[in-house]
């Protein structure tokens, strides 16, 4: 069910007036559906049921993602995943997943409003992130499809390597988003990257 009330992102986007600036190298991807899913990876029946709903197999290799046509699943722990999509409304996806998992020990929790996604892309993306992330993000160590929960500057973040541009999705909790955005802007200062200002709220 979609409420007529427009949603607001932590970085100022308003749902009804949002035009994602796809060509920018640093921008928020607001209002993605984000579902936290927990189940026992040994429960193959549950895994199969999930695959039917999502169209993608949950990644079982630590710190990897699996991308389907409409949805991306990121490994967060041995029994925990984050589902990211712009093609399904949160309520509908939660309902479908819960129905598929009836009788299984599992947890499906909507966290869409609790976090947001910042996309950073382009040749200087690694240099920007290296200023605040202690992980080795070199493509040999963190290729497209990799993900990791880590610290970015002084905030927790989930990093997802999207493609070889390189492009990263940075998922942060809502209340930390203004800090992370300010930090990214500052870190990107010498690379002439800026958050677009005109087409957000």
């Amino acid at each position: 069910m979609s409420s007529p009330t427009p949603r607001r992102s932590p970085l100022g986007a308003i749902e009804s007036v949002q035009h994602p600036p796809q060509e920018a190298q640093l921008f928020e991807r607001p209002f993605l559906t984000q579902i936290n899913l927990r189940l026992d990876p040994a429960d193959s029946e549950a895994l199969a049921a999930i695959q039917l709903v999502l169209g993608v197999q949950l990644p079982l290799t630590p710190n990897t993602t699996a991308a389907g046509q409409e949805l991306l699943a990121a490994w967060l722990g041995p029994d925990e995943w984050l589902l990211l999509t712009e093609h399904h409304q949160p309520d509908a996806l939660v309902t479908n997943l819960q129905a598929a998992l009836t009788g299984h020990f599992a947890s499906v929790v909507d966290t869409s409003a609790g976090q947001t996604v910042i996309r950073l892309s382009g040749p200087s993306a690694l240099d920007v992130l290296a200023r605040g992330c202690a992980l080795d993000l070199h493509p040999s160590a963190f290729p497209p499809g990799a993900c990791a929960q880590t610290l970015l500057a002084r905030a927790q973040a989930l990093l997802i390597a999207v493609d070889a541009a390189p492009t990263f999705d940075i998922i942060v909790r809502r209340s930390f988003a203004p800090y992370v955005a300010a930090w990214l802007q500052d870190s990107a200062h010498q690379f002439d990257l800026h958050f677009p200002t005109s087409d957000t709220a």
């Binding site: 409420s3 949603r7 409003a113 609790g114 290296a130 500057a153």
Partner: protein, 994 residues
């Protein structure tokens, strides 16, 4: 004519790029490629500073990071930087350089009177003398601060940009001299990701000041080619002006890269410095060696230099640091300097060689050039005041050999490996008698190469470097089958050195002989330390301040080891060396802070209603990283007035509070009820879906850890609220038990703190406001009673509404998804206008809960408080086990005199007690005064029209109504009060049940 000491040929300086900087305001002509030190020497500036304690004149000693004297102040005002070494600071146009440690001026230093008083201020003087009388300390301190200058701090915020970068590589090479360049090439050729760093502006190290050839090329040319090759390699990062200053656990290496600092045209635009946090798989330490000074009287006079540094200034910078030289050595290397001096046309008046024979290749060449060589001879004293004017020679047996005039006295006591990083890592090192110094042992991930191993000749540096680079790459898992060939250089055999620590016989008593030039530690100071029983080198260090300067005793410590060994008649290996600690050389505080300054110092967390609070004129308080609305003053209102208005609005009408910061954890699974039974003190399994319950969580010690309400959303789904500050610790605590102890429980936890915003409506009219805002939830008392939960919509937004209360009033806590919370907040506020709705902040929340005697974890509790202590013993279930239960029966947990929660009412109803104030039974001045407890919360209660306080009082519940006194900062002023039950308002809770 400027630069009178500049040679007219050769060197690595760019004669087509002249530049000018200033030293103490005087213009200094230099060339690109100069360091500040080489330019000062080219201009005949002998005196660069005054010593730390005696303010003796000091000159440049070395050509690198080991210099104890060449500390200068760069720039001025906000951008000034103290403790920079002239020897590694590139000369740049317009650079402002100033001396440190002299007052009022370098040439006329009043403090040098200390030098005359030196016999009366030996090591330990300050500790022993300035301790008393205590009341004079401010006077001493004022004087000492003035005297003990180590440069000065900026007088305004630094506009430069300082940065941090994390980096990873297979092989980190520290030092880009012959061994380092060879290692970096070998590692890169093996396919490794390489970072190579050198503290100097140019790569090459010793290659830049030798006439030897590498692979048929002049050494400097080979260095350039190797550097160019590395710079163009794809996975090699080349960092010049970069000092590796610390090596920590897991081989984390910190590098300080000095950028374009202190050029006047560069303010604020680029980084001042960048700290690299490198996590290499393998480390090659090609850090070289530091030449060791020698002891003789007045060995600190300007003009006394390390012999190798003289060669560097001659060959690399085309500077003759003097016009007539004497050399004093115990090994062959100073003969190379003698030949370099002769080549440059600087007469060498004498070489004093400790050894009875010197017949190696280099001594033979020097002899052939007719340089006077005295074997079995030592320098025992330098003459001259502002600069050395002559050297007094003796035989090693003590027989005078006369005085030789000179303005340059080169010394070489052999070379001590620069094993600082190696030693910081705790890697093993051993005494190498061949070089009379400690040398590093390789470990599985640290590979020393070159002079740091004690092998000083070029050919072995290149061989070792190549081998270390290849071995490091292989150990890092990079091997492409390519075996790099070592660059070739001629072998230069040299004869052994003769360890020389103390002048012969009574000459060792001559004064002053400096062991540590920076800290003004003399041979006499070491003797005094040993005489007083401080024999361990660590004790000597602390007694004398040996090696405690910003140079970290790079020259002093290797010398001190031998000197102490000889004074004690022990083996130097058993004397050891003081612990090496970061930082290898000074790093500016700005670089360490990096970008964690100003608004980026720490995350500021805000709720979706932040902008609304700001436009409503809220004042904010920090709660951890959260910024929460504190109170909302109307124009002209004081905090007290605003809080009183907000409190009365909630008690009489309705208030609205942003309570989004509370922690929220969804607990799912068939065993969720059992899990709650174990972590909370009270019983949970029989809580019906749709109902809420307050719970207390204890640590294993039985002390209150957190509290909050948990609701049973569905049969197998609960929502737990935690306090704001404990949101993360509670989740970690619960996960820890599930993952490590209760792996059989089928329970999943998911934090939803940020997904759900929490808006509290509180007050007798809150039901009407919620209805007016529009909701599909039936609100009648019987449909939605106290301590229940309903799901539905509020203002068109899906909502979970909880009838729970932290104010004691009729209250609804409305949880809505954070991305629509602002809309719901505004809808509730608009709907509440006719009912007099008032936004209230955390201060009013605190007053309201204190009126009700509700505790706040961390305010009433401090980690040593049990549930019974705060009157919540009824929440301790007897029928089940829970975390912390067993600790509650410890004798200490059941003492009758434990501090217990009580209320306090002051005799003067207007008097608000100081929070934290200590409480006694009877005031007085006698000491110790027995303490009964302390005030934990204290407010003026508007609804009661008087002050109230909560306190933790020893045995408090048994003595309710008793008189107590609260201390103030004025020890004669005591505030009388009586204890009472801790619930001040609506003790039966009628108001929240309506």
């Amino acid at each position: 004519m400027s630069q009178p000491f500049r040679l007219d040929h050769d060197g690595r300086i760019h004669r087509d790029a002249p530049l000018q900087f200033t030293f103490d305001g005087r213009p200094i002509d230099a060339f690109r490629g100069d360091t500040v030190a080489s330019a000062l020497l080219a201009n005949g500036v002998a005196l660069v500073g005054r010593s730390f304690k005696y303010h003796r004149p000091r000159g440049i000693v070395s050509a690198g990071a080991e210099d104890p004297n060449a500390f200068v102040q760069l720039g001025h005002g906000a951008r000034t930087l103290p403790n920079r070494l002239a020897t590694v600071t590139p000369a740049t146009p317009g650079l402002e350089v100033r001396h440190v440690n002299a007052w009022p001026s370098l040439d006329f230093d009043l403090m040098s009177a200390f030098g005359l008083a030196a016999p009366f201020i030996p090591a330990g003087f300050y500790y022993k003398t300035l301790m008393w009388p205590r009341r004079l300390w401010p006077l001493y301190e004022h004087f000492l601060r003035h005297a003990a200058g180590l440069g000065h701090a900026p007088d305004a915020p630094d506009p430069d940009r300082y940065d941090h970068v994390h980096a990873h590589c297979d092989v980190l090479v520290v030092g880009a001299g012959p061994a380092g360049l060879a290692a970096a090439r070998a590692a890169a050729q093996s396919g490794a990701r390489v970072i190579v760093a050198d503290e100097q502006a140019e790569f090459g190290g010793g290659l830049l000041s030798t006439a030897q050839r590498v692979d048929g090329l002049p050494a400097p040319q080979w260095a350039d080619a190797a550097t160019a090759e590395l710079s163009s390699a794809p996975d090699v990062t080349v960092l010049s002006n970069t000092t590796a200053f610390g090596l920590y656990e897991s081989n984390l290496v910190l590098l300080a890269e000095r950028l374009h600092s202190h050029q006047p045209d560069n303010a604020g635009s680029e980084s001042g410095a960048r700290v690299w946090r490198v996590l290499p798989k393998q480390v090659v330490l090609a850090t070289g060696a530091h030449e060791r000074p020698l002891l003789f009287a007045n060995n600190d006079r300007p003009g006394v230099m390390l012999a190798g540094a003289i060669s560097t200034y001659l060959n690399r910078y085309a500077v003759a640091p003097g016009s007539r030289a004497v050399l004093f050595t115990n090994n062959d290397s100073a003969y190379r300097t003698a030949l370099d001096l002769a080549d440059a046309g600087v007469p060498v008046a004498a070489i004093a060689d400790v050894r009875l024979e010197s017949d190696g290749d280099l001594p033979s060449q020097a002899r052939a050039q007719g340089i006077p060589i005295h074997t079995g001879a030592v320098v025992v004293q330098a003459h001259g005041r502002g600069r050395v004017s002559a050297a007094e020679l003796c035989s090693v047996g003590g027989a005078p050999l006369g005085t030789v005039e000179c303005d340059l006295l080169g010394v070489s006591g052999g070379f001590a490996p620069a094993l600082h990083l190696h030693a910081q890592a705790g890697a093993p090192m051993t005494w190498n008698p061949q070089i009379a110094a400690f040398a590093p042992q390789p470990s599985h991930d640290i590979h020393p190469a070159g002079a740091v191993t004690g092998h000083l000749d070029l050919s072995s540096a290149l061989r070792q470097g190549t081998a270390a680079g290849a071995a490091a790459a292989a150990a890092a898992g990079c091997s492409n089958g390519h075996t790099p060939a070592a660059p070739r250089a001629a072998e230069t055999p040299s004869s052994d050195l003769e360890p020389y620590w103390l002048p012969p016989g009574d000459l060792a008593r001559a004064k002053p002989q400096f062991v540590d030039l920076h800290e003004d530690v003399t041979l006499d100071d070491l003797r005094l330390s040993l005489r007083e029983g401080f024999e361990s080198i660590e004790h000597v260090k602390r007694y004398t301040t040996l090696g405690m300067g910003p140079d970290q005793g790079k020259l002093a410590n290797p010398l001190a080891t031998g000197v102490i060994a000889q004074l004690l008649g022990r083996d130097p290996a058993s004397v050891g060396t003081p612990r090496h600690r970061p930082a290898y050389s000074p790093v500016s505080l700005g670089a360490i802070a990096g970008r964690h300054i100003g608004p980026l110092a720490d995350p500021v967390r805000v709720t979706p209603m932040q902008e609304w609070h700001e436009s409503a004129g809220a004042r904010f308080e920090n709660v951890g990283q959260w910024r929460r609305a504190w109170y909302y003053p109307h124009p002209g209102e004081s905090m007290h007035e605003a809080v009183a208005r907000e409190c009365l609005a909630v008690r009489h009408r309705v208030g609205i509070l942003d309570y989004s910061t509370l922690g929220k954890i969804e607990i799912t699974g068939p065993d969720a009820g059992e899990f709650l039974d174990r972590v909370y003190t009270n019983a949970w399994k029989r809580l019906r879906p749709g109902r809420c319950r307050y719970g207390l969580m204890l640590g294993e010690d039985g002390m209150i850890f957190d509290d909050g309400v948990t609701a049973r959303l569905e049969n197998q789904r609960y929502l737990m609220f935690t306090s704001t500050a404990n949101a993360a610790p509670v989740l970690a605590w619960l996960e820890q038990w599930l993952q490590t102890e209760w792996t059989d429980l089928r329970v999943y936890l998911t934090s939803v703190s940020e997904h759900w915003s929490n808006i509290a409506l509180a007050g007798p009219r809150s039901r009407q406001v919620l209805a007016a805002a529009g909701t599909d939830i039936p609100l009648a008392r019987q449909d939605f009673p106290f301590m229940t939960f309903r799901q539905g919509h509020v203002a068109g937004v899906p909502a979970r509404v909880f009838r729970i209360s932290f104010s004691g009033e009729l209250s609804y806590e409305i949880n809505v998804p954070a991305d629509r919370a602002r809309h719901v907040w505004e809808a509730l506020f608009d709907a509440g206008r006719p009912f007099g709705i008032t936004p209230y902040g955390t201060e009013t929340m605190h007053v309201l809960r204190a009126e009700k005697g509700f505790i706040i974890v961390g305010q009433e509790t401090d980690g040593s408080v049990t549930p019974d202590d705060v009157g919540l013993g009824r929440l301790l279930s007897r029928r089940k086990d829970f975390l912390g239960k067993r600790s509650l029966s410890r004798p200490d947990s059941v003492r009758l005199d434990r501090k217990q929660l009580v209320g306090l009412l002051t005799d003067d109803p207007a008097q608000v007690l100081p929070e934290g104030g200590h409480i006694v039974d009877a005031p007085g001045r006698r000491r110790p005064l027995p303490m009964r407890g302390h005030v934990t919360s204290s407010y003026f209660s508007p609804v009661l029209g008087r002050s109230i306080a909560l306190a933790m009082i020893s045995g408090g519940r048994a003595t309710l109504g008793g008189r107590l006194y609260v201390a103030t900062l004025d020890e004669d002023r005591w505030l009388p009060a009586r204890s009472c039950h801790h619930v001040f308002y609506d003790p039966h809770g009628a108001r929240q049940h309506v």
